[in-house]
Amino acid sequence: MTREKFQSFWNRFGTLCVLIFLFIGFTIGSPKYFPKPSNLIQCILQSAVYILLAFGEFFTILIAGIDLSVGSVACFAGIIVAELSLKGVSPVICIIVGLIGAALCGFINGVLIHALDLHPFVVTLGTNTIFRGICLVITGGNPVFNLPKWVKSLSSYIAVIPKPVIYVIIVGLLLMFFTTQTVAGRNLYALGGNKQSAWYSGINIKNYTIFAHTLSGILAGLAGIVMLARVGAAEPTAGDGYETYAIAACIIGGASLFGGKGRIWGVVLGGIIIGTINNGLNIMNVSSFWQKIVMGALIIASVALERLVSNKTKK
């Protein structure tokens, strides 16, 4: 296989290869438990939150930015839904208000990044702490529990398939359509490929920057509601540090921190890889401390691999 052919093969199927490799590895490591269908479904269920967070993160990375606030935005949305549900507000309104709150967080990120012309890293590093602080203020630092039954039912099973997995499939398909078939989706790729060229092609970079961050907020909110449903209570520290998983899922899934590169499909695989590592190592009785080390190594390895395989002409 020539170098170029390998490149295009790896670009398309690299992430999938990593996942298959992991699957084989864990199956050998734990032949009794890991490959059982019930565990595999569990594995994907565990990935659902990561994938939803990573979907949002993906758009900020796509435009050569980043969003470090997804974890606390998710938590914020969960707390809104939990608090409202306790007041007897109808489920649909609860969820809509929760998502609007999360969207607002993302919108604020986008506006600050554009208006102050600061690097998204700095802005979202700050807002991450602010949003987390708001969560703590609202809840007084205590978990919100004794929620109505419908909250928990958001993550129940339809036949053998958990609802969160269905959410991921629906949202994933919508986003796939958005990124590949709409003008706005293509403009985001253009913006990531070269911000100034985008501006000189007539793309309003301000609106698109705000848009990408708002989208990130909404999707983080969705992830937060799923988190809430799975736990059954809103913890003010929920999702702490999850931005690492979201970023990792994007990078492992083939997105580039330089922007303009990556696919929704890759993000899904990246999220599943992270869920699988968690699940597989748990089953093999590896402590969660070690899991962190493995995860970090994997992030670096996947970026290094991408650099090795991809053209060095870019930037």
Partner: protein
């Protein structure tokens, strides 16, 4: 006796001869001016002296020692200091630290080597006094105005005991008072037996400060003259000196008095003041050229028209209808296209193949709400891309090839295709042939001519005068952010353009 002598210097870059057998010399205690238009080879000569470029051929003799080339280090060791237009002082260090950068005085304190600040400040004060800068040497350079930063650079050169100081457009960002002050310092340096190589486009000040002048043109040595034998107006023909007038390729046409312009700009001023009060018209079938020195405000003006940078006032009309342009989206939507000077930075996308590159603005224009509604139509977009790449003769392996893999000329054609596909009516070409080979250049000219014949308004900004003279029907000349004159092609010569472009009053 010459302190510095450069003999028969030739400098070849791939495809270009930047300097062709150029000789130059400098005596101590004189100001020797290097004169020439954009791209004449002045900067290359400076880069050879500062050790950045190694000449292909030739000899450099400094104080009797012969070199075939210099390195940045040997340049400093041989007492050469360069003060670039973009000053190279370190903003977050103090004046004294800048002066002693790389050679901080040291002393032992309790067995540890530390910087001897007292000595450093005392020494620095001496140099500052010499050039008349009344500042505490501990002041951070970032707190100084640009004119004083420049003085720090000069003090730094003195601190390095430089015998040759090269000044590249030192007055470009100075006021009249600051310029006079600089000249006082230069006189002082001359008295202290320092030789100065002085580069500037401002002819009156060259006449005022210079002792000798060496003229370069297209990388060749023209002549060296004593400034006392010259008048300011003698300098312009020396810089141009091309014998043959570039051949005009368009059809001779005169604008009828009653003809309405298709595109019009009235009193455009940019918020940052880089261009002021610009008014001009483009008539049907003509290519309107914009000449001027680099930094005269031509690109800045075009960015203002295109909505890429904010303007404080100005009106823009297309066929008598006023256009409202607040950003590039408005400009694109209303039929204005801009092919930018710097393809890598503002031209193409690193992640797009040719066909997407061409489709970006088309899909944006056909959708609503800034592109937030609307679907892409890959099939028709690919078809259009195929047609345009064929029409403009883009050499590529296919429309799926990445744009960044193409040669400069073909990248340029792809960008032009993008704007043709949007059906733009007004085309702004900013240095459209920069970094493009000769063959592709003439193709671009004929594309522009064809578009003008089809009734599109064509604007061409260029720093290459032969190109302007051979392509444009009328030429507008910029000087210091304002229009200094308009020339019809039949009356335009390089000399007349240059007269308008440089400040001779």
């Amino acid at each position: 006796m010459e302190y510095l002598e450069m003999r028969n210097i030739t400098m070849k870059f791939p495809g270009v001869v930047a300097l062709d057998n150029v000789s130059f010399n400098l005596k101590l205690g004189e100001v020797h001016v290097l004169l020439g238009e954009n791209g004449a080879g002045k900067s290359t000569l400076v880069k050879i002296l500062s050790g950045i470029n190694k000449p292909t051929q030739g000899e450099i003799i400094i104080n009797g020692k012969s070199f075939s080339s210099l390195t940045p280090r040997s340049s400093i060791e041989n007492k050469i200091a360069v003060i670039y237009q973009e000053l190279s002082v370190v903003d977050n260090l103090s004046i004294a630290e800048n002066l002693f950068l790389g050679k901080l005085p040291k002393k032992k304190k309790m067995g540890v080597t530390v910087v001897d600040k007292n000595y450093m400040y005392k020494e620095a004060e001496k140099y500052l006094k010499e050039i008349g800068l009344k500042r505490d040497p501990a002041t951070l350079v970032q707190d100084l105005p640009i004119s004083e930063k420049q003085m720090v650079e000069i003090a730094k050169a003195l601190c390095a005991e430089a015998k040759i100081i090269i000044m590249d457009e030192p007055t470009s960002s100075l006021s009249i008072d600051e310029t006079n002050n600089l000249f006082k310092i230069i006189e002082h340096l001359k008295r202290n037996d320092i030789g100065i190589i002085y580069i500037s486009h401002k002819l009156p000040e060259i006449k005022q400060i210079g002792d000798r002048v060496t003229v370069l043109k297209d990388g060749k040595y023209v002549k060296t003259l004593n400034m006392s034998d010259l008048e300011v107006k003698d300098l312009v023909p020396l810089m141009i000196g091309r014998e043959i007038k570039s051949k005009y390729l368009g059809e001779k046409r005169t604008v009828p008095d009653d003809e309405q312009p298709i595109f019009e700009v009235r009193n455009l001023t940019r918020k940052d003041g880089t261009c002021r009060n610009i008014s001009f018209e483009v008539y049907k079938g003509e290519i309107l050229g914009f000449a001027g020195l680099i930094g005269a405000g031509r690109t800045e003006c075009m960015e203002g028209i295109f909505g890429a940078k904010p303007i404080s006032s100005g009106e823009i009309y297309y066929k008598g209808k006023k256009l409202e342009i607040k950003n590039t989206y408005d400009a694109m939507k209303q039929g204005i296209a801009m092919v930018t000077e710097n393809r890598r930075e503002t031209g193409f996308f690193y992640n797009f193949p040719i066909w997407k590159e061409i489709a970006v603005s088309t899909s944006l224009k056909s959708s609503k709400m800034g592109g937030f509604t609307g679907l892409v139509h890959n099939k028709s977009e690919r078809k259009a891309a195929g047609e345009y790449t064929k029409k403009l003769n883009v050499k590529c392996t296919g429309i799926d090839q990445m744009t960044y893999n193409l040669s400069g000329g073909n990248q340029q054609k792809v960008i032009i295709s993008k704007w043709l596909a949007v059906n733009s009516n007004v085309f702004i070409f900013d240095e459209p042939t920069k970094g493009i080979d000769v063959g592709a250049k003439s193709e671009i000219y004929s594309i522009m001519r064809e578009m003008a014949d089809e009734g599109k308004a064509i604007i061409m900004v260029s720093s290459e005068m032969p190109e302007l003279l051979s392509t444009c029907d009328r030429i507008i000349v910029f000087r210091d952010g304002e229009i200094s004159g308009i020339l019809n092609n039949d009356e335009a010569t390089e000399e007349k353009i240059m007269m308008l472009a440089v400040n001779i009053d």
